[in-house]
Symmetry: C2
Subunit: 656 residues, 2 copies
Amino acid sequence: MTLHESRIDTDAAASRHAHVNLLGTPVEPLASERRGVSVADVSLSASGFWGQRQAVNAAATFEHCAAWMEKLGWIENFDRIARGEPTVDRPGWAFSDSELYKLLEGMAWELGRQYDPLLADRFAGLVSRVGAAQDPDGYLDTAFGHDGLPDRYSDLSMGHELYNMGHLLQAAVARVRTVGIDDELVSIGQGVADHICTEFGADARDGICGHPEVEVALAEFGRAVNEPRYVAQAALFVARRGHGSLPVRPLLSAEYFQDDVPVRDATVLRGHAVRALYLTAGAIDVAIDTNDSQLFAALESQWLRTLERRTYLTGGMGSRHEDEGFGDDYELPDDRAYCETCAGVASVMVAWRLYLATGKVEYVDVIERTLFNVVATSPAADGTAFFYANPLQQRVLGESAHDGVNMRAEGGVRAPWFDVSCCPTNVARTLASLGAYSASVEGDTLALLQYSEGRVSAGGFVLDVATRYPDDGVVTVTIEAAPEGEATLRLRVPSWAAGARIARSGASVEAVEPGWADVRSVFAPGDVVTLHLPIEPRLTWPDPRIDAVRGSVAVERGPLVLCVESTDLPAGAAIDTVRLDVSRLPEAHGDGAQAAAVARTFADSGSAILPYGRRGANGGSTPFQLLFVPYHRWAERAPSTMRVFIPTTEGDRRAL
Amino acid sequence: MTLHESRIDTDAAASRHAHVNLLGTPVEPLASERRGVSVADVSLSASGFWGQRQAVNAAATFEHCAAWMEKLGWIENFDRIARGEPTVDRPGWAFSDSELYKLLEGMAWELGRQYDPLLADRFAGLVSRVGAAQDPDGYLDTAFGHDGLPDRYSDLSMGHELYNMGHLLQAAVARVRTVGIDDELVSIGQGVADHICTEFGADARDGICGHPEVEVALAEFGRAVNEPRYVAQAALFVARRGHGSLPVRPLLSAEYFQDDVPVRDATVLRGHAVRALYLTAGAIDVAIDTNDSQLFAALESQWLRTLERRTYLTGGMGSRHEDEGFGDDYELPDDRAYCETCAGVASVMVAWRLYLATGKVEYVDVIERTLFNVVATSPAADGTAFFYANPLQQRVLGESAHDGVNMRAEGGVRAPWFDVSCCPTNVARTLASLGAYSASVEGDTLALLQYSEGRVSAGGFVLDVATRYPDDGVVTVTIEAAPEGEATLRLRVPSWAAGARIARSGASVEAVEPGWADVRSVFAPGDVVTLHLPIEPRLTWPDPRIDAVRGSVAVERGPLVLCVESTDLPAGAAIDTVRLDVSRLPEAHGDGAQAAAVARTFADSGSAILPYGRRGANGGSTPFQLLFVPYHRWAERAPSTMRVFIPTTEGDRRAL
């Protein structure tokens, strides 16, 4: 890849301003051979997997989040700053402002996707309350810098001021890219960005924020409004990191903040997972826009090692609760997996940037895995309750869902809101902008990256996509309009889809390997290209260095990780005594991407004072049918105990 | 067991006070069929395993701890209170007072064991600095209740005032039992105990301390000075707990404080491990002294379930870092095992009380396991560095030992001191009083419970014990004096010692089963009883519900858990690729309780973007000899990666 190819122009974008295009995309590298598509150009059908979630997000989640933030006073915090009231008893953590900004970002993408006057009013009302709290010099924060509050930037480690303003800039990016720069939120954002450059510029305060976010935000806002100073400020924040400048305290080490090693010298992601991933996304943006190929190579290498040794089967990241952080290599316990929903969102941000820069299909595979098995797992079907952590094993029944704020990031049930409530709004902004990640354009090639029922207009194509994916593996693409002359329609064949086939109307069926399946042709309206992905359930084995799931196996089906829930077990069978018979492959079962396999339970020999002793042979139960259901819907029917990796009948010698 | 048998009189104890005996023991239940022996009556030889550690403790650890506490100002805190200085910038956590008290307790037992005028002076000097800080009403704390500090008892959850005073009472117990009640520290303790009863009595403040300790301390101090009010106050604290009275906050739930369920209704230990165990010890004391057999049964049942499902092979307890707590049943990851040294000390406290109450040999087995594999693991050979957490697996090399305070409870190297430094002084007081746990008297039976070279005078016997245990399994007991008439010498045969034999001079060798081996006789000076315990290395398999070590096996030798350290691996072999061939048993190797077995390493197949995929067969290395060394000495030669449980060649299918 050459980083500095010239920007690909798009005639699909309108412009209300000389140097700003309404690209409709969250990420626009200064130089790239490929770009995503506009949120306006992808219409996901409400009958498809993602379209349905997008509809629930718009219909329920936005207002749910706004109502909680009103109820808890997190929005009132802005009003109190605007009124100049002392705020000694300010409710919420220092980062509560960011929740409103992430909600605004989600609303902005939603409005760009599909205009709704009621939502537009709600959005405008919230923006004006935010704007009223902005200081004349652009500073904007409700937890510092005003009467009754600590001084500005007096706690860079944990104060989250730059983090908050970063999220505001991300919301402003969504506005620039969908309505242009003549917008109240964009103006607020410009004030914020200018303030940050003044306060933290090369000749000013030599500081960084404990929670990265401002880097990725400044870079993209700079791209969006064509202001290189903002990108340069992002580069400065990236370069300053890793020199131990942030004060540490017990459990909050330099590693926690990624302040232990300079970004370009690190070998793997470490410390707090969301921080590490946001930082990586911003550093990639900086590397691309400053043509820093050495930094880019370092970041891609860190990412690959992180995938190879510190990532769960679901795509989830973060295996330690105590610092919400990455563990050591191969430290991937299913039961204590943290796999924060926000880390899933952030992983998609990183993988998307790397895909745009390299075109590697593996990164799109990772995005699919993470979307289906982390991001889709968090929200309840009605969009008003969420998982914060996404473990792959639940040993005890969760407490019944309740209406109150959940203090804990775990518990086996989705909660309406959290004391630290970063995940719901992160899901909301991701779902609203999802279309932009579902296809890309590269020269005369339109690549379909994610499959969900809907319509895509890009690269001169208008495509109707019909599919029940992931419940079914058939994706039927009907060309409704095509560019003049020869062009390529590129379909992603996921890494698991050995045996995939592709058929074009009037041509014979061809086998395709995992990777890219390119159909190059002069297309005509009415042409149909059909992709057949085999979604028979399959066994997936862990690397032998992952101690936590040794002797165990998972069942996947298509892009979905499946799981076993106690809800589906025979009466009297405890989930930790189930053993899978792997001499027979699991089979597809019923609707909805389920699978069934043969299992036994072992009898509890009991009685030893400690759970260690001589090798014994316990009699196992008679075989029974074990049902596997999509992991992303676990605990939806009722609180359950659950496992993704199931020990096999050969996995331990005292079992059967 | 009948709880209210009358107290067994001892003629071995002198008395300086009408109702106080110099029993020399840490625990004296109001009613018990058996009692421990005086620290003065057990002399452990410095050439034996425990005697050597006791000597290092006295020669190095006491002064090491005192020097750190002086250096950090934790002792000066008392002087500042005494001088009435404002203490806004008080150094140390709220519980730093307790470190001095635990050190004083250790010194007191040491003085009771073996008088040393220099140590006595040092002790007296420290006691007088403590005493000078006591308020007229008995209250004693340097972090609350004085000028510049928060009010007394304004943070019962985390303020640790009662916890601190509890440790002071434990030190006072050591004085009553070794020098009697006419002692400055005992007087301070009486003031403290009276203050607590006044402040928290039945008609006064309805509070409990977030960190249990005052319960076990008040009970024992009440026993020691014959003051039932103190025991009643302990009972009141136990009864008040479990009703959610302590304010909680994120990560510090009611469960963390054992304030979620009343003590008598709980089914298992949970929450912060040290808190849970100290509480259990105190509640057992209360149950015994108030003849509350229902409470006692609940506590024993909780303990058994905890052993069966929440205890590591080492005897270690606590599998979560984020709250230093117990995990769910069978959640026992080796790599993230917390197994705090203090939890090991506290587990011995619980097991000892249950042994005194029930006479069950299993509880003494647990004490031995915990002493050798948790308590002995913590201190470095020179007694001036310590492990705080005791994981059973170390994935990355620890950072080199340094002279500074270690902020973290982990890291793979022993540290001289900690920011939260509870463990060093807990080890110190345990080693100083260890003799008291090594034998017990029950009627005309003297039971030898722990084996270490030395001399025991109790129950009318004087015994010389010669043994290289645990490096060797032969324990030779020579009777130097014996009671008149028939008596029983009882020897413990550990649960692992199948095939043990016992021989009495002039009699034939007899096989004995694990449990108690009783020799009943009219003994005469010169009689010799020899116990032969088989200490061949053995394989120990985990319960199939422990996911973290499925497909893996441990090697034990006698009472010692062994481990593999990277230090001993062939060049180029990474510890996470080692696989044990269990078709051959490990064999004894060299000196010092080592073992050797046959192993292979597997080749890294690498290259997958995620560590999950199809089942593969990798070529393994040629077999090599794998060395196992005692776990309690790991990381002593150099920082190392380490494992206790080793995957077997049959444990995962991609391995070999």
